[in-house]
């Protein structure tokens, strides 16, 4: 059985509650043990880095240090949490001076960063650690005929460059195929949704959301699957405003990939937080239990 330290992040506490619920359910079903960090703090999304770089590293390092205590690799379902934790881990490992500086602060909470663990995104855990074969073997309700647009967003892939596929990732598609759904190809799958701009530069963000929805819809998507609470909120909750702003009539459900997985694994819809959507996830109804 695989065990990881689980860092849900602030978004999953409420806004992305269904992500949290479905994560817990699907991992349990697939024999992955998630041990929630006992007193995690916010990773700060991207805004920390607007204000103070060292502070940003410190906050992320606190979570890392707690995971190190348990000697578990850290898994984050939120792309921003993942990216911040991943790069904090990387920079601190590579730069002992920086690590020393940060450790000085961590002392106040009796913690220490030593660079023992790795940071993974939840979807990586499914694709690499659990494995597509294993997932396929556990599917009891294949989502046959469901046309899903996999939406990667930015920070699962970027700015990491050691992925050979930063420009042309396929693993999300593979995962969707493994649960029987039909991943639709659409060119904007890796493009930014403008999530971090939605409060500060609404006009830009809404137009980015529109482009994405348009591209997914043009290519026949029934639902969009995301792997990040920010992307989910952005693409789903602002559809109405996009429609107002641009005179469009989008109504595409945006769900978490874990919710789709949950359905395929035969977990009841309720347990997966299905029903909390603002844009109703009607295309999922035939597969729900």
């Amino acid at each position: 059985m695989k065990e990881f330290a689980y860092f849900p992040g602030c978004s999953l506490e409420k806004v992305g509650l269904s992500y949290h619920l479905s994560t817990v359910e699907t991992t349990r079903k697939l024999g992955v043990d998630l041990k929630e960090l006992e007193d995690w703090n916010c990773c700060g999304a991207t805004t920390y880095f607007h204000v103070d770089e060292l502070l940003a590293y410190t906050l992320c390092a606190r979570n890392l240090a707690m995971a190190e205590k348990d000697n578990l690799d850290l898994v984050a379902p939120c792309s921003a949490c993942y990216k911040n934790s991943y790069f904090t881990n990387k920079h601190l490992k590579e730069d002992p001076d920086l690590a020393e500086h940060i450790n000085y602060a961590l002392e106040e909470d009796n913690l220490n960063f030593s660079g023992q663990i790795e940071v993974k995104h939840l979807i990586e855990v499914f694709v690499h650690d659990v494995g597509l074969e294993e997932i396929r073997n556990n599917v009891s309700m294949p989502l046959e005929g469901l046309r899903v647009a996999p939406y990667y967003g930015c920070q699962i892939l970027r700015p990491r460059k050691d992925h050979e596929d930063v420009e042309q990732a396929e693993f999300f598609e593979d995962l969707l195929s493994a649960i029987g759904a039909e991943p639709i190809p659409y060119p904007l799958k890796l493009k930014c949704c403008g999530g971090s701009l939605i409060l500060s530069s609404r006009e830009a963000a809404l137009s980015m959301v529109r482009n994405l929805l348009q591209n997914a819809e043009d290519n026949g998507a029934e639902v969009i699957a995301t792997a990040c609470p920010m992307c989910q909120v952005n693409l789903e909750c602002y559809q109405q405003q996009v429609n107002q702003e641009f005179g469009t009539r989008f109504s595409v459900p945006v769900v978490y990939f874990t919710q789709l997985m949950g359905l395929a694994l035969g977990i009841p819809a309720k347990k997966l937080g299905i029903g909390k959507e603002i844009v109703a996830a009607t295309p999922l109804a035939p597969y729900a239990r």
Partner: protein
Amino acid sequence: MSEKVGVYICHCGTNIAGVVDVEEVAKWAGENLEDVAVSREYKFMCSSLGQELIEDDIKNEGLTRVVVAACSPHLHEKTFRRACSNAGLNPYLCQMASIREQVSWVVEDNEAATEKAKAMIAGAVNRVKLHEELEPNLVPVNPNTLVVGGGIAGIQASLELADAGYPVYLVEREPSIGGHMAQFDKTFPTLDCAACILTPKMSDVGAHPNINMLTYCEVEEVSGYVGSFNVRIKKKAKYVDEEKCTGCGICIEKCPKKVLDNVFEVGMGYRKSIDRPFPQAVPNIPVIDTESCTYFQRGKCKACEIFCPTGAIDFEQQDSYLDLDVGNIILTTGYDLFDCKAMPQYGYGRLANVFTSLEFERMCNASGPTEGKIVLRDGVTEPKSVVIIHCVGSRDENHNPYCSAICCMSALKFGHLVMEKTDAEVTSCYIDIRTTQKGYEEFYNRLLEEGMNFIRGKVAEVTDAARLPGEEDKLIVQVEDTLLGIQRRIPVDMVILMAALEPRADAKDVGLQFGISCSMEGWFTERHPKLDPVATMTDGIFIAGAAQGPKDIPATISQGAAAAARVQGMISVGEVSIEPVVATIHEENCSGCRICNTLCPFNAIEYLEDKEVSYINAALCKGCGTCVAACPAQAITGAHYSNEQIFAEIEGLLYDVISGNGAKAPRVEREPVPA
């Protein structure tokens, strides 16, 4: 007998004297360093007057050793050795101290520079006293030459040598010579037809009495040294008897098996299982590809054999080997094209109408897969608009940092061809247009006049996601026009990627096989980037063409000719002198422990089973000194870099420290105890 050392300190104008107090140093050396008979400073030691100074002192003062403190020995060691030689002193009794590159140019403080210069001179003086007279070894040069790689570089080199009357073996691993140039339609900047200028040269090679063309062959093993290399060549089975085949091509016609040609046609066209790469191939002998041949795969067919009028098909043919003795080797193995799939943002392999430069070359070629018509992947539609993307995989730290040198010009050539053959609008997206050779900028101007568009900006991506009106069913090229500072989306029908030139995938292995080194990227390393671009660190091995670095055909030809000229020089002198900086094993001290046996990359060290000692073949030894440093019995000495010489240099360099602590050597003599 103590030596008489002459010390010469160069001002190098003000280069040295501006920082180092040369008068003071000269005086100090004369007064303080043991055995220094003459110590002088002079404005320009490398000038003929400077050299005369040394020569006169050797003759008049009877100097037995010379130290020149000046620039780096890489610059003028030869000069001062020659001066010694002229005055009758063995040239190896001269030593330089680099007080320009290592002192005056790099030290800020004048006093510190003067101090460092003194130490460097003390080291040189200490060392030179232990130098030995050395004589270069002479070995004869075999007049045969091996040329590896039958591209335009190899063709040129072979013809030059053959025309000069020397035998050449030209080894090419493909079934025909010609290399990349044979794939092109036109060549910049004059737009001559590639075939028109290449084919005659190829047939000259094929027909030349002095050239033994070995196509479909590979070098298996190389041993020996300059003047006498032994090479083993593997002749891959062609399954066609070269003696009998007349090149009529009936077998090709009759062969029922068609396969995609990924080599010559870069996946744009088809070939038969028995085929030659292109109609003008030299030699004009087809080769059976066993991977696809029906007979080899399923045991049935033999159509080619049945129809061949001369009975040349031989399914039983085996790989064979050929051993050659040659005096020199020229490597002209060329380049590979960058794999554009490594930059998925440009869509190659995903978006049908994105082409590589080489694909486009084949498309333009009248004998190519589209018979010279410029069309989209569907084979019929003419593009109405084309974007050419520069620097794909070049000038990019994520791929290759260097400029591939030929793609700007090729892009201009393509622009011209597109506009000549279609009505399409052509746009080049570039970072810089690099047109540095004769006639190149003029060619750029011509394209500007012809109406080709230019946008300064490296393309960010090519997509088929339409967003704006007019983008539907087009490829959209997204780029910043950096001269305007705006992002542009250009909808077009066709995109051509000017892919980087890369070292051959096997370049490092080939380098190792021939005992030469490669740059970090994999280009063969020349002996000197400016002064000796076709020789390598291994004597007798030369390089030419794109194997040395990206270059165009004129430069490739020049190098091919230059390498051939170097080889001719070697052959006409008839013998070659080998640097005497070599290692020697003293048999009486060698215990035959065999530690050294694996250490020499040039296989200079042998173990003599009968005597149970190791032995160094001086002709193979390059004098690196690794074995010298390794021998636990200290049975190996390295000429000109002996332990004693280096110890003496260390002592000299530390002259000021040693005298400070009184611990000159561990063994101390004491006054006798008073009775």
